[in-house]
Subunit: 323 residues, 3 copies
């Protein structure tokens, strides 16, 4: 990636990939995110940070949870929010992605939140926007989902403290998962004790990620783990898996059941990025059980997105003040 995610003044400007983000920046985002958490039941944090600014959610792939999370994050910071499901109009008309961006930028959009099924689109947009404009990657092909990685490490830290002493196991379809990749990048940056990738051979990455150890047996893979993160498995995958022909067999071999979870530490936390296939990659009783932090992941995700928006606003304000 040739685009820098931080400005010359040292502000966070874009969020494209955690692999290229300094550790201090990751820590700064999570620290800021913590300030947006409120006690359960209390009203969510609201402030005027982005009053008068415009955030565009540009989703070339459908999404409920991530789009909703970014939309609420922007609204709670008082931004004007524009939701664009571009697949249904301009792109069908043959306009290039960059022309869509140039057009929206000319409407004085300050932040683009971009999700796309192709690799490289968020970075390519970031390379071409005006100096004060910021680009946030909201999910990019199978390679990157940085706010997810940040919310995952934030959730782990809040339960388990410094990740340096932890054993973290990610279970499932690692190969096709931007969630796994961004979590692995964030954990590695923060010096995770041990990172394990667990799944059927066909779903493990061809080259391992971030010096992680790979396991094809669930019990071995999560043995003594402090954190177990299940990934969503797409139904389409079963056709490609030699000896796992259906969801039932997948559950038997890689599903997080109460029995499987006995291999992890007693106080291990269980994570899932959602949406869940209950009874496939995770048992419902585990998803709803005392070890599950799945809903906290969602809450932390919104706080992370508020933090990222508030931090890039420092760049926007600095750039526009000097004009």
């Amino acid at each position: 990636m040739t685009v820098s995610q931080t400005s010359e003044r040292g502000h966070l400007r874009h969020l494209i990939s955690l692999a290229d983000l300094p550790r201090a920046e990751i820590e700064r985002i999570i620290e800021r995110a913590s300030t947006y958490l409120t006690p359960t039941g209390q009203p969510p944090s609201h402030d005027a940070t982005l009053r008068g600014r415009t955030v565009a959610n540009l989703f070339f792939e459908p999404s409920t949870r991530t789009r909703a999370s970014f939309e609420l994050a922007a609204k709670r910071l008082s931004a004007d929010v524009l939701n664009l499901d571009v697949s249904m109009s301009s792109r069908a008309k043959g306009e290039t992605v960059l022309d869509t961006i140039y057009t929206l930028q000319a409407m004085q959009i300050d932040v683009f939140v971009v999700r796309d099924a192709s690799t490289g689109v968020p970075a390519r947009i970031a390379e071409h926007v005006a100096p004060h404009v910021c680009v946030l990657n909201a999910g990019e092909s199978e390679v990157s989902h940085p706010t997810q990685g940040l919310l995952d490490v934030m959730t782990i830290q809040r339960h388990k403290g410094d990740v340096g002493a932890l054993r973290v196991a990610i279970v499932g379809d690692i190969r096709h998962s931007r969630v796994a990749r961004s979590a692995a990048e964030a954990l590695t940056k923060l010096g995770v004790g041990e990172l394990r990738l667990v799944g059927p051979t066909e779903l493990l990455p061809e080259q391992t990620i971030a010096n992680a150890r790979v396991y094809t047996d669930l019990a071995d893979g999560i043995a003594d783990a402090d954190v177990v993160m299940a990934l969503r498995i797409q139904k389409e995958r079963f056709a490609q898996l030699g000896d796992i022909p259906d969801p039932q067999e997948y559950y038997r071999r890689f599903g997080l059941s109460a029995r499987a979870l006995t291999h992890a530490k007693n106080d291990a936390i269980v994570m899932h990025p959602g949406p869940m296939n209950r009874g496939v990659e995770i048992d419902g009783s585990i998803a709803d059980g005392p070890q599950s932090v799945i809903q906290e992941q969602v809450t932390n995700g919104l706080a992370v997105r508020m933090a990222v928006l508030a931090l890039v606003h420092e760049h926007i304000a600095a750039e526009t003040a000097q004009c």
Copy 2:
């Protein structure tokens, strides 16, 4: 329904079904709704009741008018509003409805406005949300549409006063109508003088509703009525109706024409929940004529939704204050 619509403190908390709502609560909602009406042409009521709170419109069935009405009601009370057409994303991904709710709740949604084609979904959601969270039914299968029932009785009362002295006839496809069911429930709770259900045998309910009298002849059914409410008929129904093969024949037998309306009282009001099939269940001249209160129904509907949101906010505020 096992879920209570009022809280222990006596606040309105959910609005799922009028059948289970005390008469005093119905009257309280309508009274509050009246305070949101403004003279024609004047700006709509606006206040800060829901400032900082978030309302999610969760429509699993498409809708223009009800969604727009709830969205404007929430915005005019200064809420942040999230529109989710869930059919197009999460549900397609196989996530359960409750997991969608848990996820959104973790984003600190305070009120869920839910429309669904299946019976029981709003109540099921209400049973599972956090103590301060409220669920409003915006249309449930063929069984319940409580804000519609409330706006209908509000409209009748504003024109005709106490419903105890009134004869109200609902005409059309009663059997499949959540509108008819909720109107009948509200009218019965308020002690309607006489309730009549009028339509072809195949479209009358198998068991009558709320002690209503049933009629298969339009002239008999609306004779001396104070209020005549036409229901929308779906084109698909004609295939099931023995001697009414097409819209023309339906109009001849059950359409509210000027001639048919002579059987009702001279000052009878004419209602329709919309969207109308002009020339099928109602003649255009009647829909636009002096007896029609169809547009007032829409205006009152928005006021009812503001009232319900403002009342459940009292629950939310009480719950979150004590946390």
Copy 3:
């Protein structure tokens, strides 16, 4: 058109067609629009003009850029905004357009922004709304797109001053273009020096527009032009064009390449309403080059829409004050 676009008090009330708008009104809108421009990088203009009012975007045809532009214009004036993609719900249910309007009007919508594929729909709506309600045409079939015409002349004036001394060439599919029609109307009202329509015979209008001269040769058509405006060509057109079977041949004959542009004046500006087909009606190097004002058109378009909303608000305020 029988509906008047200005009120008896002299306020702008509707914007349906530039052909029926007085020159002074066009100048007034553009002058107001200029006040909404801010220096590059600065935050967009925001004010409270439409606070408490509701603007509904009623798009019966899909659109990204125009809908986004109207939505942001309304939000930056503090209006509540309702986006309705009506093709997907009510219209499918058989409700008439006027019934949809009556319903929304009963929800106290103040301004309808309407795009429709049929001729006459915005004017027909304007004829039927309540006295204080305003209708803005956001694109009507192949006949009218008045805010586009306004933004085009505004852009020309800001670069070239009074249009009376200018030669303006519009190139491409004039026959099916509401953009060309509205630009021609605005330019003619403002007394353009010379207006030229350039394209293959099959794409020139059957009757010329506004005394424009027609050309079937690009070099002749743009010779010594001060302004060259390329129009988007739909792929479907090639089937109807005798000797232009494909985009490559169209580009060779009517594409704005660097070579073609040498025929225009050296300081000619190049315009395009978007979305562009790069390499078909315009070369990418021209679209991105120093003569291009394409992004300014977008910025001016948003300012024009803010101006129109602010001006019709004067009508709304006057009407509702006297109630």
